[in-house]
């Protein structure tokens, strides 16, 4: 019996939230097949990937650590997407945030000033926002699409950081390794759980969840952003400025990504290195859509994505699987999510026979 996709009369709300769960299950199954094809026991590999990290305190704190930048970046991306803005450049904004905040640490660290950490946080957010302001300017002035400009500026930011840590900011006592001095103690985020790396940045990320929800659901600014994203002509009719929406949406996304970068620099890394993130800014795009662009959904999605990063590291250590395994699972997650999302607006029906 042939099957056909048919438009649903109303988008399915059940499918809207079932789709990410389905995608996660299918990605795990797909991952198992890949592991089996590589000659590993798929059950052992999947347990190492998804369960082992959750069985120890160390694993749980590492999960929170990795979820922090994902959560911050993904919330920013989601706010922008709700305003109809495709910010693909969180990675670059994250990098610029690390540079701006890290610069303060390198300039004023070790002097014991109480304001160093707050200044670093502000500078981190400002650095990310400033980097995202460039695409906002290009879009409002020249109609350049932000998908291209944010993505391309990501590479510029990473190259800029590379130049800094190879050149002017290189640690003079670092045996010529391309990295900055370690930050002094007063320029590091306080650790929350003694003996682990979980730092206060996770609290900022958790705070961002209800704040972003309140912005979108309970403020005039959020209502305007959503209207601009859903129906630009209705926004124009109401008198909501699309240009102002572009500036606000992109700068907010940039600020959150910049904060994520600063939290990496002043948290687990403790200095500036050529690469501040293993692709958190890009993985956050998957997280944002997996969490249905809703802040509380994104919290769950960020934990899942952090688990994949963490489990991927475990696979490398305990089973000598290549790091590409992590990327493979991430890719499958997005692939299956997009496939499952088809069924929010459509359903499968049997093709009815034409009338006799």
């Amino acid at each position: 019996m042939p099957l056909r996709l048919e438009a649903r009369p109303e988008p399915s709300r059940a499918m809207l939230w079932l789709s990410p769960v389905l995608a996660a299950v299918l990605a795990a199954a797909g991952g198992g097949l890949v592991f089996a094809a590589l000659g590993y026991d798929p059950l052992v590999a999947l347990r190492t990937l998804f369960l082992d990290p959750l069985s120890t305190l160390d694993g749980l704190t590492e999960l929170g650590l990795k979820a922090t930048p994902l959560l911050l970046c993904a919330i920013g991306i989601a706010v922008a997407v709700q305003a109809g803005l495709w910010n693909i450049g969180a990675e670059g904004q994250l990098t610029m945030g690390a540079i701006a905040g890290g610069g303060i640490a390198l300039a004023f660290g070790g002097e014991g000033h109480w304001w160093i950490l707050p200044a670093m946080l502000l500078a981190g957010a400002a650095g990310g926002a400033a980097w995202a302001a460039i695409p906002a300017l290009l879009k409002t002035r020249f109609h350049a699409h932000e998908i291209l400009t944010t993505l391309m500026l990501s590479y510029v930011a990473v190259q800029f950081l590379g130049w800094l840590v190879h050149g002017p900011w290189i640690d003079p006592e670092g045996f010529n390794f391309p990295q900055s001095r370690m930050f002094e103690a007063d320029a590091l985020l306080p650790v929350l759980v003694e003996g682990t790396r979980l730092h206060a940045g996770v609290l900022l990320a958790l705070l961002a969840v209800p704040l972003a929800w309140a912005l979108l659901a309970r403020t005039v600014a959020g209502y305007r952003l959503r209207t601009i994203g859903l129906a630009p002509r209705a926004a124009r009719y109401a008198g909501f400025s699309a240009a102002r929406g572009t500036w606000l949406g992109l700068c907010l996304a940039g600020a959150l990504a910049g904060l994520a970068g600063l939290c990496e620099a002043a948290g687990p890394v403790g200095q500036l290195q050529p690469l501040m993130s293993p692709g958190y800014g890009f993985a956050a795009i998957i997280v944002a859509f997996l969490g249905r662009l809703q802040p509380f959904g994104i919290l769950l999605a960020a934990l899942l994505m952090a688990l994949i990063y963490l489990g991927g590291e475990q696979l490398q250590v305990s089973m000598q699987l290549p790091i590409a395994a992590t990327g493979t699972i991430q890719g499958m997650l997005l692939f299956f999510l997009l496939a499952s999302d088809v069924f929010i607006d459509r359903r499968l029906v049997r093709v009815a026979r034409r009338h006799a």
Binding site: P9, E10, A217, R218, T219, V220, A221, Y223, T227, L230, A231, R233, A234, R236, Y237, A238, G239, F240, S241, A352, R354, H355
Partner: protein, 511 residues
């Protein structure tokens, strides 16, 4: 019983979409050479039935007989092979191609264009359709574009021509031309299926009618023997409520436009030239004209979506030309736009969120924070006050019928207590009950002292509603005339100067 079988006979046609029965055991019979009206409100199932005849959708049950033989119409190509031609409400023409090129594409013809052009001229002359095959479509008025679509069908020697709401875009004079052509076609033996809700036209043109209501055949009649009122009652299945108007005394001017000239934002848009108008408090001013003559541009300029020099537009004596829509709204202007979903309201928003679109103020959003209780109260009040049929304030915009969505938008704007209301095609595509309610709401608002500007293509609507009527043609606005001193004929003559012609004359004068 007639000796010749009917050209088209439908029996027991059923088409179901999800939970709704679009067509329920519909039977329809069209004799050769007959002009047959298909009547019904929006959502009565007219379009679905015509799509079945034209092979666009397959029926779930039922039979189609063509000249007495049962047939299966698998797709529009099969329909065209049988001799069925269809002129849709929305044209599918390429703006940048010529008339002949468009027709060649539509026919899938491989003949040389010169030969086709000659045949187009010949057929056009035979039916009195003035069309130049060599002209580019973007120069043409809506009426001329419709003639291309009709010609495209005529070149295939149709034996049944279906027209879907063909006169909604025509001037009264163009309507006469169309009717003459259809009568000639029918006299030659071609059947015509005429879909419309304009009852006077149907009485003038058609010799048989099938009335659909909620997917079923509600009545069959000879429209010549009926009145417009009795036809309307067959359509809605009850008595038609009439609007009542209180005597009004126009007050001081509340909206004044002074020599406004504005170039279009979009390619193929219309330049507004030297627009002057004065709307008085308590008055309804109608702007007639065929769409595409600057209506959208004028409304955008008045509502503030397009800015102009401050002094060009004055609201209650104060210049507002430089202000955006929100600032003008704060000064007492309200606007009911032409498109409901996507502009006046948002399909994915709840009614509560849709109420907020133009009603962000100190009550619903104090200090930039939304007050959910106040928003709910606003939406609840709009639904109750204007009789909007919806599942509640959480219902999504997409779930409302066109008429109910429009009642909600009209209600939202009137409830704001505007000094000036702009209404674009306020009852377009709305059922009779909702249209009467909307007209009554506008009359009541004017009686309460607001000035109302109604832009509509429906002359009957304007003649029934407005105190004065002006005509917008080619981006120029005629001086308004009191409705008591004019009629459809006189206004039609003003509308008749095709936009292209006026534009070209103006361009030539400027060069």
């Amino acid at each position: 019983m007639s000796p010749t079988p009917p050209r088209l006979a439908l029996t027991g046609i059923v088409k179901r979409y999800g939970a709704t029965l679009a067509n329920d055991e519909v039977a329809l019979s069209v004799a050769p050479g007959e002009i047959h009206a298909l009547l019904g409100e929006n959502g009565a199932g007219k379009s679905t039935l015509m799509k079945i005849v034209y092979g666009v959708v397959a029926p779930d049950a039922g039979e189609i007989a063509w000249d007495g033989r049962p047939v299966a119409i698998a797709d529009p190509n099969a329909a065209r092979r049988l001799g069925i031609g269809m002129v849709f409400q929305h044209f599918s023409l390429f703006e940048t191609l010529t008339v002949a090129e468009n027709i060649a594409l539509g026919l899938g013809s491989t003949r040389p264009l010169e030969a086709l052009a000659a045949e187009i001229r010949q057929v056009a002359a035979r039916y009195g359709l003035a069309v130049d095959p060599g002209r580019h479509v973007h120069h043409l008025s809506v009426g001329e574009r419709q003639r291309i679509e009709i010609l495209r069908c005529l070149l295939q020697q149709p034996r049944l021509l279906i027209l879907d709401e063909p006169t909604s875009v025509l001037t009264p004079q163009e309507v006469e031309g169309l009717f003459a052509m259809l009568r000639r076609l029918a006299a030659e033996g071609c059947s015509v299926l005429y879909i419309s809700h304009k009852l006077e036209e149907i009485r003038a043109l058609c010799s048989a009618a099938t009335v659909l209501r909620a997917g079923r055949v509600a009545a069959r009649c000879d429209p010549r023997a009926e009145t417009a009122e009795s036809l309307a009652e067959m359509m809605i299945g009850g008595r038609v409520v009439r609007t009542t108007r209180a005597a009004r005394q126009p007050g001081p001017p509340c909206l004044v436009v002074d020599r406004l000239t504005l170039a279009p934002e979009e390619p193929f848009g219309t330049t507004l030239r030297d627009i002057a108008l004065e709307l008085r408090a308590g008055e309804i001013l109608g702007i007639a004209g065929v769409a595409g003559n600057g209506q959208a541009e004028l409304l955008a300029a008045l509502a503030g979506e397009r800015r102009s020099a401050a002094a060009r537009i004055a609201l209650d004596g104060r210049p507002v030309g430089h202000l955006g829509p929100a600032a003008r709204r704060a000064r007492g202007l309200a606007f009911i736009p032409e498109e409901r979903l996507g502009r006046g309201a948002i399909a994915d928003y709840s009614l509560a969120e849709n109420a907020l679109l133009t009603r962000l103020d100190a009550r619903t959003a104090p200090r930039g924070l939304l007050d959910p209780g106040a928003v709910r109260a606003l939406a609840t009040r709009l639904i109750a006050r204007f009789g909007v049929r919806a599942a509640g304030i959480a219902a999504r915009g997409r779930s409302l019928s066109g008429g109910n969505m429009q009642k909600f938008i009209v209600g939202r704007e009137i409830d704001a207590g505007p000094r000036v209301l702009l209404a674009a095609h306020p009852t377009w595509g709305v059922d009779i009950g909702a249209a009467v309610a909307i007209h009554q709401a506008l009359l009541d608002l004017a009686a309460a002292g607001a000035g109302i500007l109604v832009v509509s293509e429906d002359l009957d609507e304007l003649l029934g509603l407005a105190d004065r009527i002006a005509v917008l043609a080619g981006g120029r606005l005629s001086p308004p005339v009191p409705v008591a001193e004019t009629g459809a004929e006189a206004i039609g003559l003003l509308m008749g100067s095709a936009p292209g012609d006026a534009q070209r004359m103006a361009d030539a004068a400027a060069a």
